[in-house]
């Protein structure tokens, strides 16, 4: 039965993906291709759509593949499949955590883990800046170019939007969702003019 097959396949994808997001793409692709559910071109479209729509890429592709293969119920089955492993594991971990909340080993482990998360969020800022504010990815060469010819490395409209977003967020305490919305409108206006 196709619904069950979709559920199981996407359960597997959800279960064996570490690190989320783009780490899941190769796994999703190989499963989809071995089942002949979509063509490679359609799969590339999904990634593009997933990048442009909100939400986790795994959920986006599960919904899309499910719908293309077996309609609405197919998309419901595939989405449930990809969500369930995370859901079950997160509940189990939360339950265990409640028990060991004040265990010295947990406290000392998280003393070391928290700054790692700060570092990871910082790298993710740079990865996203590389796809917008900077036209080239971060390297020694790119930093040299930044000094020599800044306009070739920096995307000016992106910088303007970033500065405005920062002002709105920090100075005027605008809600992040409104800032995202405003940046989208600014993008439509600025990039349509140039």
């Amino acid at each position: 039965m196709i619904y069950l097959k979709l559920l199981i396949t996407f359960f597997k994808i959800g279960l064996f993906s570490f690190g989320g997001g783009y780490a899941m793409i190769p796994l999703i692709q190989s499963e989809i291709e071995s089942n002949n559910w979509l063509t490679t071109a359609e799969f590339v479209d999904i990634i593009a759509i997933a990048e442009m729509t909100p939400g986790p890429i795994a959920v986006n592709s599960a919904t899309f593949v499910g719908y293309k293969t077996a309609g609405f119920f197919g998309s419901a089955a595939a989405t449930s499949g990809v969500v369930l492993p995370s859901f079950i594991l997160a509940i189990l971990v939360s339950m265990i955590f409640y028990k060991f909340q004040n265990h010295p080993l947990k406290i000392s482990a998280f003393y070391g883990i928290r700054p790692v998360i700060a570092g990871l969020v910082m790298t993710s800022t740079i990865f996203i800046a590389e796809t917008s504010i900077f036209k080239q990815s971060l390297s020694l060469e790119m930093l040299m170019n930044l000094l020599k010819a800044p306009l070739e490395v920096i995307d000016i409209p992106s910088v303007i939007i970033a500065v405005l977003a920062l002002l709105a967020l920090v100075k005027f305490k605008v809600h992040p969702i409104l800032v995202i919305f405003g940046s989208g409108v600014a993008g439509i206006i600025i990039y349509s003019l140039i």
């Binding site: 959800g14 993906s17 570490f18 690190g19 989320g20 997001g21 759509i49 990048e51 442009m52 729509t53 909100p54 986790p56 959920v59 986006n60 919904t63 989405t79 990809v82 969500v83 997160a90 971990v93 939360s94 010295p104 080993l105 406290i107 000392s108 482990a109 003393y111 070391g112 928290r114 700054p115 790692v116 998360i117 700060a118 570092g119 990871l120 969020v121 790298t123 800022t125 504010i133 971060l138 409209p157 992106s158 970033a162 977003a165 920062l166 967020l169 920090v170 809600h175 992040p176 969702i177 800032v179 995202i180 940046s183 989208g184 409108v185 600014a186 993008g187 439509i188 990039y191 349509s192």
Partner: protein, 198 residues
């Protein structure tokens, strides 16, 4: 807690995570600034330290980071029912949007207006995540040791492209070792941190 209040909390969790799910562009970590604003600053369901722990766990277990985080927050706020409400909330926006796209416009990615909108959103997301990084650093980098750990993790992931899960495991090992070798130092940090957390 009485029934009515529990029910209201569940609805609140669902709506909050629906909002978060509907505006998370750029995957997993892009959700951090929104979760912080809604769950820590506005609703005060959990504090800054706890949310950083939740993100750490979300990245260390398999699965979708957004769902891992939503389930944990929901569970913390009101148990298993809370976990279900938050998870449904965070998944539904993407599910509905993709369903509509799959039904009607398969080539939405070629639309120039959509393209320009996302060119505008991307630098904004960079700013949002950057400011979240600053806030997380304020609560998690408490002394020279944690500053060093943060910088090493940053460099390893950025320049040597090591997987984030190994950075997290490394951080845990470093934390346990440091606390075992210099019990006083990290104890003070915990105390100071307890003082900051109101």
């Amino acid at each position: 807690m009485d029934r009515k209040k529990t029910f209201r909390t569940l609805i609140d969790l669902f709506v909050t995570f629906f909002k978060i799910g509907g505006f998370t562009f750029g995957g997993g970590l892009a959700m951090i600034p929104l979760i912080e604003k809604e769950v820590v600053t506005r609703k005060k369901w959990i504090d800054e330290d706890e949310i950083v722990d939740i993100f750490a766990v979300a990245q260390s277990i398999p699965g979708v980071i957004a769902i891992n985080s939503a389930t944990q927050v929901g569970y913390k706020v009101s148990g298993k029912k809370g976990a279900v409400a938050a998870t449904l909330g965070v998944v539904l926006p993407s599910f509905l949007i993709i369903l509509i796209i799959a039904m009607f416009f398969t080539r939405v990615q070629d639309n120039i207006i959509v393209k320009n909108m996302f060119k505008g959103i991307r630098p904004c997301v960079a700013v949002l995540i950057g400011s979240a990084a600053v806030r997380i650093s304020k609560t998690s980098v408490k002394d020279k040791i944690t500053l060093l750990i943060a910088l090493v993790a940053f460099a390893l992931v950025l320049f040597f492209e090591i997987h984030s899960i190994f950075a997290i495991i490394g951080g845990a090992v470093a934390g346990i070792l440091i606390k075992a070798l210099f019990p006083d130092k990290s104890l003070n940090a915990e105390k100071r941190n307890g003082g900051n957390g109101k």
